[in-house]
Amino acid sequence: MRAGPSQEEIRRHNLGTLLRHVHLGGPTSRAELTNRMGLNRSTIMALTAELTSAGLVREELPRETGRAGRPSLVVRPESARVYVLAFDVGVDRLVAARVGLGGVILDRREAVRPREGFGMPEVVAALAGFARQMHRRTRPDTVCVGAAAAVCGSVGPTDGVVRFGPNIGFRDAPFGEELTRRLALGLPVTVGNDGNVGVVAEQSRGVGVGCRDLVYLHGDVGIGGGIVVNGQLLGGLAGYGGEVGHMVVNPGGRRCACGSRGCLEAEVGEDALMELAGRGGDVVGREAVRAIVDAAGRGDVRARDALNRVGDWLGLGVANLINIFNPEMIVFGGVLRELYLGAAAQVRSRINTSTLVASRERLRLRISALGDDATIVGAAELAFAQVLDDPLEVLSRLG
C-alpha cells in the first residue's frame, strides 16, 4: 500500500490547480482564488509567489473594486510571455497559431489545403514553415511550453500516429514524430483527434463551460466526435473511442471511406449533401454547405430536400447518442453548425420521436461558440496540459 501524497506532490498539485484557474478563468483576485481552491490565504500567497518568480503569472492591483478596504491583488497569466504552438489539420485548411497562457491567440497563420497531392510530408512542411514564421516574430524573453496538433483522423493517444484519416489521405502516418523533428523545439508534439480536442475546447472555453456530460460533433468533410462523460474525455481502451462519425445509421446505405456502409459520416457528410442537392465540385467545404443552406432558405426545393434527408440522418445519429449517454449538452461544430441551423426542425423532430423522454428532457442542443476556432483552441489546451500539470518541472526542463 502506498502512503498518502507527499508534501512535495501536494504543492505541485496546488501550483498546477492555481495556474489552471488563472489560465481558464482569466485574471482572478487572490481572494477569489482562496475561495475557489479552499486553501488559506498564506498558501495562495506562497503559490502565487512561486508562479510569479517562474514567470508564469504576474500580480497587479485591480483597476477598481467599488468596495471599501485594501483590494486583493489580481493574478494574471503571463499571456505574452508563456505560449504554446497549436496546429489544426482540416481537410481544406491548415492552421497554426501561437496561443498565450490564458488562451489568447497571439498570432496565427492559415492556408488552404489542396485536396489532391497534399499528404503528410507536405502538411508537416507547411506547418513547420508557419511555426518558423511565427517564431521569428517572438520577443527573446518568451518561452514555448508545448505544442499540439488536431487532426481529422483516428490518433493514437501517446504515439502521435494518425492511424486512419481517409479524408486527408493519412494512414499509419507518424505525424507527431515527424512534426516534432521538423519543429526541433526540444518538445514533443502531442496529436489529438479533431472531435476530441473540440469537446475539450467547448468545455473549457466555449458553450459547454461547466458541463460535465457533453458530446461535441465536428463536421468537416466527415464527422468527428468527442464525448465527455462525468468530466472525463471518453477514450476507450486505446484512445480511439468517440468515433461517432462511423456509427452506422443506415445499414446498407452509402459507402463510407472506412469500408463500411451507412455510417453517419457517409449519410451526413459533405459528399452526401452535395450529391443530394445536385451540386458540382467547384465549390467545396464550408462554402458549399453554406450555399446549400442559403439556397434552401430561398426556396430551392432540391436543396431543401437534401437538407431534410441529411438532417434526418443527423437526428438519428444524435438520438442514439442521447439514448446511450444522456448528455447535458450536444454541441454542433464545424460545418455542422450551419447544417444544424438549416435543418433543425428535421433534426429535433427525429430526436423527439426516437429518444427516451427521460434521456432528452434536460438536454440542451447548442452550436459551437468557438466556431471554426474550436479545433485550434482545443489543440492549444492539449499543448498546455503538461505545464498545467506540473508548471515548475516543465519550465526547469526548458530553462
Binding site: E338, Y340, L341, A344, A345, R348, N352, T353, I367, A369
Partner: protein, 258 residues
C-alpha cells in the same frame, strides 16, 4: 429549467371595432428559456406582442409579471417592468451611431451635457457581455452596418436596460446564412444568461434550433403551448394551419371555444 413564468397572460381578449383578434389567450414566458411564438399571417402574433408591450390596451384578461398582477397602460409601463420589444423594422436611426442608437430617448446626462463616455462604456460592456465581436467601432453609423449587425445592435439595445423579457419579431428575416447563425446564437445566449426570450418566427428551422417552448396561435386563439422537446415539425405545422394536431391543440377545429 422549468422555473415559474416571469410573464403570464390569462384570458386575454382584444377587439378592433367589430373584429375580435384575440380570444381568451393564455401565454406564459419563462426565464432562461426561448419561447417561440408561431402562427399564420393574421393569427394574432403581432397583436399579442403589442398587448404585452402596452401599445394596445387589452379588453379583458389578466397580466402577471413575476407572479404579481399588474396593469400595463402603455409602453412605458412595460419598459418599467423590464419588457423590451425588438421590432422587425428595428427602429434604428441610420444617421446616428451605435451608442446614440442604443441610448436614443434615454440618454445619460452629466449636468447639462450628454455623458458620452459613460454611454459608450455601457454600450461596449453590453456588447461584450453578449460576446459580440462583429462590430468594430461603436461610433460607426448604423447605416454602415450589415443586416446581421443591425439586428445585433437592436437586440443589445433591448438588453442594455436590464430587461427581463425580450421579444424579438422575426429577427432572422432577410438575413443570409452566416448572419442568421450569428443572430440565433445571440438569441440563445440571451436565454442562457437567464432572460426570458420570445421569438416570433415563420422559419421552423429557426424555431426548432433555439426554442425551449413553442406557442402556436390559430385564428386568435392559443392552439397549444408545448415544449420543443415533445413535438415534431409536422405537429407544429398542423397546429399553425389547423389549430390542432392529434391530442394537441383546439379540440374544435373551427376555432370556436370548446
Amino acid at each position: 429549467m422549468s422555473q415559474a413564468p416571469v410573464l403570464e397572460l390569462r384570458g386575454i381578449d382584444k377587439s378592433f371595432g367589430p373584429v375580435q383578434v384575440l380570444h381568451d389567450v393564455a401565454f406564459s414566458v419563462h426565464p432562461g428559456e426561448v419561447t417561440a411564438l408561431v402562427g399564420d399571417n393574421g393569427a394574432g402574433k403581432s397583436t399579442l406582442v403589442k398587448c404585452i408591450g402596452g401599445i394596445h390596451p387589452i379588453d379583458s384578461g389578466e397580466y402577471f409579471f413575476e407572479g404579481e398582477k399588474v396593469h400595463v397602460g402603455g409602453p412605458r409601463d412595460a419598459a418599467a417592468l423590464g419588457v423590451e420589444i425588438v421590432y422587425q423594422d428595428l427602429a434604428l436611426c441610420d444617421n446616428l451611431d451605435i451608442v446614440q442608437n442604443m441610448f436614443l430617448g434615454r440618454e445619460r446626462r452629466s449636468g447639462l451635457v450628454l455623458d458620452e463616455a459613460t454611454m459608450e462604456e455601457l454600450a461596449a460592456r453590453t456588447l461584450e457581455s453578449l460576446s459580440v465581436r462583429t462590430v468594430t467601432s461603436l461610433r460607426q453609423r448604423v447605416s454602415s452596418l450589415s443586416g446581421g449587425q443591425r439586428q445585433t445592435v437592436a437586440i443589445a439595445k433591448a438588453v442594455l436596460w436590464n430587461s427581463k423579457v425580450v421579444i424579438l419579431d422575426e429577427p432572422t428575416a432577410a438575413l443570409g446564412v452566416a448572419q442568421t447563425a450569428q443572430v440565433l446564437d445571440l438569441v440563445r445566449r440571451l436565454a442562457d444568461k437567464g432572460l426570458a426570450v420570445v421569438l416570433i418566427s415563420h422559419n421552423m428551422n429557426d424555431v426548432f434550433a433555439v426554442s425551449d417552448r413553442i406557442a402556436a396561435l390559430y385564428l386568435g386563439r392559443m392552439a397549444a403551448q408545448v415544449k420543443t422537446s415533445e413535438v415534431t415539425h409536422s405537429q407544429v405545422v398542423e397546429l399553425i394551419t389547423a389549430g390542432r394536431s392529434g391530442e394537441l391543440g383546439l379540440q374544435n377545429g373551427n376555432g370556436a371555444t370548446p
